[in-house]
């Protein structure tokens, strides 16, 4: 059996789950519908894509993982527990499960099992290795708002960093444009599977995000060219100007739709505009805002701007000062996607402290996410979390493994809008699962098997004869290296 995920269906389910309108769902993105809409329908909804996922999970035998310490991602730790995978899904979690006929049985006594890790902030593929000039595809730094660009169109699927992230247990990642711009463009969520095309990695039906940026980067990039923004006040004015345009665009579209609905034959659709389609998608709640923002005061300002224009900020990324406003973030339902211990690499990161994760987490309703923004960090998100736990304990707040795992699984899934499908070990969820050689919150922990939709994508005990990345294939300098 092959699991072919139908992009249209999956998108509709997700959209309904997020209480979006049936209108959006009805014009869901099949190729024919998209083509048709360009002629006779209003400008395409912001979530329609001409670039549908072609991800197909390969056939996989049923798998029974036996006798592990299981961190479910729902806050539970279940010792000596079995996890059964079949048809790409988690089908059972419990004691003494009976293996399906022909099932692969993994003796996981002494091992730990977690949901596949999810990184909400990666530039793999858009800033790939090797980092040569020709690979600098992450920042369309030609205007402060490039909401028209989509990170997925920059992804080089041969980036060897995908494979090394997989070895670190990462099964899903969001790839974002860089932070040169106030509004950098759309992000994409991918499954960490090797594919010749990025469409073959695309997480079926995952909402897209929009990358925005605060602070030093936009004002440095444009200020150095004597363009706006060159100050933080310029940043805020820049965002607001964009949202004002977007509001007009939404009004034009709504007016057109109303005319069509009223049966007007001569209604003329508004001109399509890729930039405004993205911004309108944010205002309509269809696209998620992932906002690069370090300082507490700037995050508070962004929340005011979001309130002014009626959109939601899903997560602040980097957020080294999130701990200063942990209550504010929690009250607004905004996650902080952060490093464990980066600080002072620029002025706005001067106040970064390693208790950031623990403090964000400690606020009632707080949502802490460990993110990487790094091809190295993504390989060991579990170790980043372990650092956060260690500093939490030193502060007097011990954080249990069954809770800390949420920073790497359930919380990022929630921020990406895929929490109904992955991010926890629950019956019916995608079988995105990692078997670790021990407690994952240790420098010694190694992922032994990584399953994505039930298929083994990495097996430390049975390394591939060849690297998956074409780039590393046949390179004399890797001879003798186990890929």
């Amino acid at each position: 059996m092959r699991h072919r995920f139908d992009a249209t269906t999956a998108w509709c389910i997700t959209a309904l789950g997020a209480l979006l309108t049936l209108t959006g769902c009805a014009s869901a993105p099949t190729r024919s519908a998209a083509t048709k809409s360009a002629v006779t329908q209003p400008a395409a909804p912001s979530t329609a894509t001409p670039f549908p996922s072609t991800y197909v999970s390969p056939d996989s035998a049923p798998t029974l993982i036996r006798g592990a310490t299981v961190l479910t991602g729902t806050g539970e730790r279940r010792d000596n527990t079995d996890v059964a995978l079949r048809g790409g899904k988690i089908v059972a979690i419990g004691k003494d499960l009976v293996a399906d006929a022909g099932a692969r049985v993994i003796d996981a006594r002494g091992k730990w099992v977690t949901p596949g890790l999810i990184d909400v902030h990666s530039h793999l593929g858009v800033y790939p290795s090797p980092g040569v000039q020709a690979h600098e595809d992450g920042n369309e730094a030609t205007a402060p708002s490039t909401a028209n660009v989509w990170a997925e169109h920059s992804i080089w699927p041969q980036d060897p960093g995908f494979g090394t992230a997989l070895e670190g247990g990462v099964t899903t990642l969001q790839i974002l444009p860089g932070s040169a711009n106030l509004i950098g463009g759309r992000s994409v969520v991918v499954k960490n599977v090797h594919s010749t095309t990025y469409q073959g990695m695309k997480f079926p039906g995952a909402p897209q995000g929009v990358k925005m940026a605060c602070g030093e980067n936009p004002k440095r990039v444009y200020g150095s060219r004597r363009l706006a923004p060159s100050t933080r006040m310029g940043n805020v004015a820049g965002w607001r100007a964009q949202w004002i345009e977007a509001q007009d665009y939404v009004r034009e579209q709504d007016a057109y739709r109303a005319k069509v609905a009223a049966g007007a034959k001569d209604a003329k659709p508004p001109k399509r505009d890729l930039r405004l389609e993205t911004l309108a998608g944010v205002l309509r709640g269809e696209l998620r805002v992932h906002h690069h923002c370090y300082r507490a005061d700037e995050m508070a300002t962004v929340l005011d701007v979001a309130r002014e224009f009626g959109y939601k900020v899903t997560a602040f990324h980097h957020a080294v000062e999130a701990y200063k406003i942990s209550n504010l973030l929690a009250d607004n339902g905004v996650c902080a996607a952060i490093w464990a211990d980066w600080w002072a690499f620029k002025m706005e990161s001067y106040d970064g402290i390693p208790e950031n994760l623990a403090l964000v987490d400690a606020a009632p309703g707080g949502c802490a996410i460990v993110h990487s923004d790094s091809e190295e960090g993504i390989q060991r998100l579990n170790q980043e979390a372990a650092k956060g736990m260690a500093y939490g304990a030193r502060m007097g707040r011990a954080i249990a493994p069954e809770h800390a795992i949420l920073w790497l699984t359930a919380n990022p899934a929630k921020s990406l809008g895929i929490e109904a499908r992955t991010g926890t070990l629950e019956v019916g969820k995608m079988a995105d699962v990692v078997v670790w050689n021990g407690n994952p919150f240790s420098v010694r922990a190694l992922a032994e098997q990584v399953f994505i939709d039930g298929a083994v994508r990495f097996d430390r005990g049975a390394p591939r004869a060849q690297p998956e990345s074409d780039f590393l294939l046949g390179q004399p300098a890797t001879m003798g290296v186990t890929p």
Binding site: P160, G161, N327, W343, A363, G396
Partner: protein, 425 residues
């Protein structure tokens, strides 16, 4: 419980004294660490001393042994079997010579004089009052090397650096000369790595024949630079070559042998490919154990097993993060743990961030091992010192017990208190 925690923190905050005062106060007090698992890093015996006491008196290690009597008035720390190590190495970087990345007024790690200046000595810019010192010290790092960098406007010869102690003492006298080779230095050498070796050779020629008269005086070096380079050619200290590609490492070995100088490879992403040659030439390698991606075309062979393979081939291995960012010094311990997870023996991982770098940079009399008579330099850990889940419980550096407070803990305490009042907003 939250209220109680707040009280405790508040009292800690009120008791916190300026670090210099707190440490000076403890200078003359005897300190007895009782019942630790002591990793002395002396000799070749990797086995730790179980249930062992270490007595510090007048800033020096007065005794290492079992059941030591406590001098009157000594502060006693019960280790209960926890690991006691020498203070750790922070790698080659910018502690005290850069406060904030991207802010040029706080960064002194490079000169942009458009000239080759081997005499450029970053220790002159060293600021022992950088907030980074207490941060890293409280995390168990007691020594590091401040290293100059190459950048646009410098040359492939970055200049001089030296070991520093994180207790704030002056940089060590021993200097090392830093040279960057390979892809990232092409723009500093006319666009070719061949020109890098050409310029290096020319500089050496100038240094060895300082009175050579040239018709057209297009010498690379100033008189002072010629002297500095000559000193190093005569053995004043090691050349630290930042180089990754196997072929470039071979050229570097050839240079070191031809000029008969002490060389250290820094980075060495592909060093494992020339491990036998490095071992034969007795050239140590400062590996970044996390470098496993082909960040450029010099590092196609990068692998997490670099350290383990080098050691197996008989190469001396120490660690330094590739990134010179100040905060990355804190990651070296994690990197060492990862090297162990990928095949390096645990004891070799610890030596690579204690004794070995102390030896390479001429400060082994002061850092990197625990021995009677030495200025005390100790860290007591609440778990495996190579694991990210462990943190220090006690840090002794420069003979003094160090406060575990820093700008980071001050920020933490301020905002944890606000959070507990539901006021972090």
């Amino acid at each position: 419980m939250i209220t109680r925690r707040f009280t405790t923190l508040a009292s800690i905050a009120m008791l916190a004294l300026p670090i210099s005062v707190a440490t000076a106060e403890n200078a003359s007090t005897a300190l007895l660490v009782r019942g630790a698992t002591v990793y002395t890093l002396t000799g070749n015996d990797a086995a730790p001393l179980a249930d062992t006491d270490v007595l510090v008196q007048d800033g020096r290690i007065a005794a290492v042994g079992r059941k030591l009597p406590a001098p009157a008035g000594a502060r006693i720390v019960e280790a209960r079997g926890k690991p006691l190590t020498p203070g750790l190495f922070g790698g080659l970087g910018r502690i005290g010579i850069e406060e904030i990345g991207l802010e040029p007024t706080t960064g002194d790690y490079a000169q942009r004089l458009n000239q080759m200046r081997p005499e450029f000595d970053v220790t002159l810019a060293y600021n022992p009052e950088s907030m980074a010192l207490p941060v890293h010290r409280s995390n168990g790092i007691t020594f590091a090397v401040i290293a100059p960098s190459t950048t646009t406007g410098s040359s492939i010869v970055a200049g001089l650096g030296a070991a520093i102690g994180l207790d704030g003492t002056a940089p060590a006298n021993a200097r090392a000369l830093f040279v960057d080779l390979g892809a990232n230095s092409n723009s500093l050498a006319g666009g070719s790595r061949a020109a890098q070796f050409m310029l290096l050779r020319q500089a050496v020629t100038e240094a060895r024949a300082p009175n050579l008269v040239m018709v057209h005086d297009d010498r690379l070096l100033t008189p002072s630079g010629r002297q500095t380079l000559l000193d190093f050619l005569k053995g004043a200290g090691p050349f630290v070559f930042d180089v990754d590609r196997a072929a470039d490492i071979r050229q570097t070995i050839a240079f070191a042998q031809r000029e008969n100088v002490r060389a250290i490879i820094r980075g060495g992403a592909e060093a494992w490919r020339v491990a036998a040659e490095l071992a034969a030439a007795k050239i140590p390698v400062l590996v970044d154990p996390l470098q496993n991606l082909p960040s450029n075309f010099d590092a196609i062979g990068a692998t997490l097993e670099n350290a383990a393979r080098l050691r197996a081939a008989g190469v001396t291995v120490a660690f330094s993060m590739r990134s010179p960012d100040v905060y990355d010094a804190g990651k070296l311990r994690q990197a060492a743990g990862n090297a162990v997870a990928h095949g390096l023996p645990w004891a070799a991982g610890l030596a690579a961030i204690t004794r070995t770098p102390a030896e390479l940079f001429g400060v082994a009399d002061r850092y990197g091992s625990i021995e009677k008579g030495r200025v005390a330099d100790l860290v007591l850990w609440n778990g495996d010192p190579l694991d990210v889940s462990s943190l220090p419980e006690l840090v002794v550096a420069g003979g003094r017990e160090q406060s575990l407070a820093s700008r980071h803990t001050a920020l933490r305490d301020r905002y944890y208190e606000r959070l507990q009042r539901n006021a972090a907003r």
